[in-house]
């Protein structure tokens, strides 16, 4: 990750003219993201203020400042290595687990800085739900997978667990498929089912924000479609931040889209605006597949 991994895209600037911002970024100069005005009216749940992150010596995120609208689906798009996954993982401080990570700036959840030394990172993660690129159910029963977050909180009442399990599985649109085999191993499910199980696990404890890290990239198109439908459904209850490589997916499922490039936020606005009438030519070229 970081600068070293990013190769300047061939033909950029030479083929098309007017990609001033991309050149500024590649030159390492500072730059203010284009944030659409519509965002100003949205109530925020999470906000980043000039947030930067280094993996050892290499810098992965440059002064990211953005807010996440409450109860909306926000997609992070951008070419590989642009830092979108890093940004996502910075929100629940999963990056702490990586050796040599250093951060600057702030990310606030409901106004509380999550990088404050007094913050208990375990408590923070309990307020967020996360789904990973590859489905990663535990080698336990379906039931135990779903209620895992409750178990680690010390919940032992059978009734509470069963209720929470059913609710989460229904929300994850998996209940009908697995209700008869809750005691069976989760590893027997198909990839798409496993990913929905992971979503159920992520939402069982009612997180404030659901973080989805390319949740469909390891799935086939049918499974992907189901997950997308699911995201649209759960978006009614949760704030969702999704990282995706798939432009159509971002357009379909998200209310807002942020385009990132080389560790910087480039353009951020309502999805429909980003995909149909972006302000910057770089965004337009990226979303139409001619860049990145």
């Amino acid at each position: 990750m970081g600068d070293a991994v990013i190769e300047p895209k061939k033909g950029l600037g030479s083929e098309r003219r007017g990609l001033r911002v991309a050149e500024v970024i590649r030159a390492g100069e500072s730059f203010d993201a284009e944030v659409h005005a519509e965002l100003a009216d949205e109530p925020e749940i999470l906000r980043a203020d000039t947030f930067s992150l280094w993996y050892g010596e290499s810098r992965a995120l440059y002064d990211i400042s953005m807010k996440l609208p409450r109860g909306k689906v926000t997609a992070l798009i951008g070419p590989s290595g642009c830092g979108k996954s890093t940004l996502l993982r910075s929100v629940n401080r999963m990056n702490d687990l990586v050796d040599g990570v250093r951060v600057d700036g702030e990310i606030r959840l409901e106004g509380e800085s999550i990088y404050d030394p007094r913050v208990d990172v375990i408590e923070l993660r309990k307020r967020l739900g996360m789904v990973f690129q590859k489905p990663n159910p535990f080698p336990m029963s379906i039931f135990e997978n779903v209620v895992y977050p409750l178990r680690i909180d010390g919940e032992r009442r059978k009734g509470v667990l069963a209720q929470a399990c059913e609710r989460a599985l229904r929300q994850a649109a998996l209940w009908d498929e697995v209700k008869d085999r809750l005691k069976q191993s989760a590893l027997g499910l198909s990839g798409g089912q496993q990913q929905r199980l992971c979503i159920a696990r992520a939402i069982v404890a009612d997180p404030e924000v659901l973080l989805l890290d390319e949740p469909c990239s390891a799935l086939d198109p049918v499974a992907t479609m189901r997950i997308e439908e699911l995201i649209s459904e759960i978006a009614e209850r949760y704030t969702v931040l999704i990282v995706t490589h798939n432009m159509q997916q971002a357009a379909r499922v998200s209310n807002f889209t942020a385009f990132m490039y080389l560790g910087r936020l480039v353009e951020y606005g309502p999805s429909e605006a980003i995909f149909s009438r972006p302000i910057l030519p770089e965004t337009e070229q990226y979303v139409t597949g001619r860049f990145g």
């Binding site: 990663n136 080698p139 336990m140 895992y148 680690i152 010390g154 191993s185 027997g188």
Partner: protein, 876 residues
Amino acid sequence: MAHASGRRRTGRLVRVGDSAAGVVITLGGLAVLGSMLAICVFLVGSAAPLFRGGDAQREPDVVVDSEVLPSVIVFDETGEQAMLVSPRGRATVVEIGAGHAWGTVSLLPEGVEARVLEVSASTGEVAAGFEGGAFVGGAVRSGYALVADAAGEGATGLRAVDEGQADRLARAARFDHADDRVVAMEPAEGGARVWELAAERGEVASLGDGLAGVSAIASRQVSSRERVTVAVLENGRAYVASARSVRRLDGGPARERVSVTPIVEDAAVDAVPPRWVFLVGTNADVVMVWQDGRFERYAEVERGVWALAERGRFDDGGTRLTAAVAALGGNAILIGDAEGRVTSWRLTSSEGAGRDAESKLTRSISVREGTAAVTSIGVGRRDRTVAVGFEDGSLVLENLTSGKRVAGWKGEGGAVVAAGVAPAVNAAVGVHADGTLRVWRLEPGHPEATWLSLFGRVPYEGYDEPTFVYQSTGSPGSEPKLSLVPLIWGTMKATVVAMLFAVPLAVLAAIYTSEFLHPSWRKAVKPTIELMASLPSVVLGFIAAMLVAPYIAAWLPGVIVSMGVVPVAVLVGAGVWRMIPMSTRRRVPTVALTGLVVIVIGAGVALASVSGDAIDAALFEGGEHAAAGLRAWLDSGQGSAWPGWFMAMILPAAAAVMALWWALIVTKWNAITDGMSRTSAGLAQLGVLAVQILAVLGLAAFSAWVLTAAGFDPRRSIFGPFSQRNTLVVGVVMGVAVIPIIFTIADDALMAVPKSLRFASTGCGATAWQTAVRVVLPVAASGIFSAIMIGLGRAVGETMIVLMATGNTPEMSLNIFGGFRTLAANIAVELPEAPRGGTHYRVLFLCGLVLFVMTLAINTTAELVRQRFRKRNAAL
């Protein structure tokens, strides 16, 4: 790439190399498999002969005078010759394999005929009783002599007989009892054998009444200077004659002083006299045996005074006794009955010791049950193999200790009236009623070894009940005790104790390095611990014997107290740590935290060593039956059992309290502390810890009180006399030896758990500990299990540490302060002194085979369990 030439080609050399490599690899693989198989075959092949019977080869028959059939057969040491002795005192010497007898002589002076003559084949004791009640006692010995030629000119060499005897031999190869001592047989091809009758000088006892002849007699050398002879007369009276050699003050030849004491003086007139009489046991008690199965035992209560000590039966009634001989050096009586049973009886003493002990004749072994009446029993001199002759003409050789049947035949010629077996079990003879003497040469095999004697309880000589004993090397003639059970027990004891110590440490260390330790530190720690695995076990054994054992012996109370105090110290440390604000805690690097833990443990150890003696004094000194501290308490067996139980019950009590806490209280408690500030929650936690400790101590004290009140004493099970090189030492040091193996394999297994699972768990808000216990450990369970099993395999086969750190006493006890001997150590200790091909040698190979089977079983179980786990996690 050879794109330039247009086509890519594989060179000839590459192909040749490829096929050559294939051949070499195949050969190597086959060689490994083959050699493993060969080792297995060798082990089995070396141990298997133990379970086979002996081989017997028929030698030419000899016909003896059927008018004077022998009743006893005495072999010489080599098994080349046998002397057949008739009840009248006629002795015939037979050369084994030659097919003829050398000749017949009388063991008694010319013209004197015995009324009854008993020769003990096991000791060579001779006793003769005459008409008129006179009797003598003595011993027959055989020696071997070589003279120059038949003419007797110039003796060139002699063995096993002294100068004087050589002279006599050279003089005449004829029976000459001018000095009433020597019975010499005719020399054969320049060789001569000497059968010597060393009788008490003259008539030992000539009893005055002259009314009745002697009907039963026995004689026994009870000490180097005293011979006891007992005679029962036909009128039922019995006398004991004791002949003691008394050294003269002037240094002349010893005189013999004979005293005769009556045992039974007023027998009923119509009473049937006993058929046999024996001198049994260390005190030479007189046992009279009647044919209807009754026996009476008389003991010398004080010098010269005999009294009836016991009256009983050798059977349940109804069967007639048909044969009885003294065996095992006079310590046992073998009884044969009309139904073909042979039983061995021995004088055993119940509780108590010395002359006052309550002794009883008890049945130790039932040798076998035949189909016809037992007509004769022949006993070996050293070996515990007996020859039993039956009425139907069959002869069976069996080992008394193991009950193993060495050989057996059925012959023509009527009942076997006399049976004999050579001392080295290399020859056996049976005399049939028609005067035919059947002779066999034997390859006895391994009479001491049977499945039962190797793996079961065996009634050994001198033991009151059948037990597991391993004692391969004793004095010559002593009974080999070859039970492998004490060795298997020792192996398991060592392994279990070592694993109890090693597994928790190694697995927790692996969890620590894989889940908690900073990767850069992990890189350094892991190879260091792996390096420990390469430490030669002889070094660890040396450390165990020279450092750990004396240390534990010197600081025993402190060491034991530390086992409780150190965990408590760590828990207290953790409680204090939780009271420190998060921001401060976050700034402490992992390594420094480790250092803090080390400091806390060190403080625990220091506290334990300081308080050890005080606690020792408080627990084990004072009270009604004061014992001076733990060591004295262990060794003396004095003092109340309570402190020991208290000590032993702390661990189970702790487990019980913790289980109770987790099952019933912890959720509610968490709900209470959730609302508290860090400091007060921490303080509350420490308070709970204090309550828990008190609960543990209280529970331990109470259960110890209950157990003590119920009459149990831990010194009969898990505790016992303290020996410096004990199980605890081995547990600790062998634990250290297996920790690196378990650690490194467990660590690999934990590291092999996909990162995605850890992320999933962490993403759910789980702590590192929760992730480790709930997600990583179950997934890595198969790997950790095989790590433990490989450690177990190493511990089972470990030799040097147990060899050096235990006393190598093959005892079977649970005592953690006692020693033991493992199979591996046994092989190492005894193989140098086991003659190749012998029973002992093969038993040691059997030890190796048992060890191999044990490790094989462990590894197979490990593999099966691992496969199951793996299948479960296959989809990961």
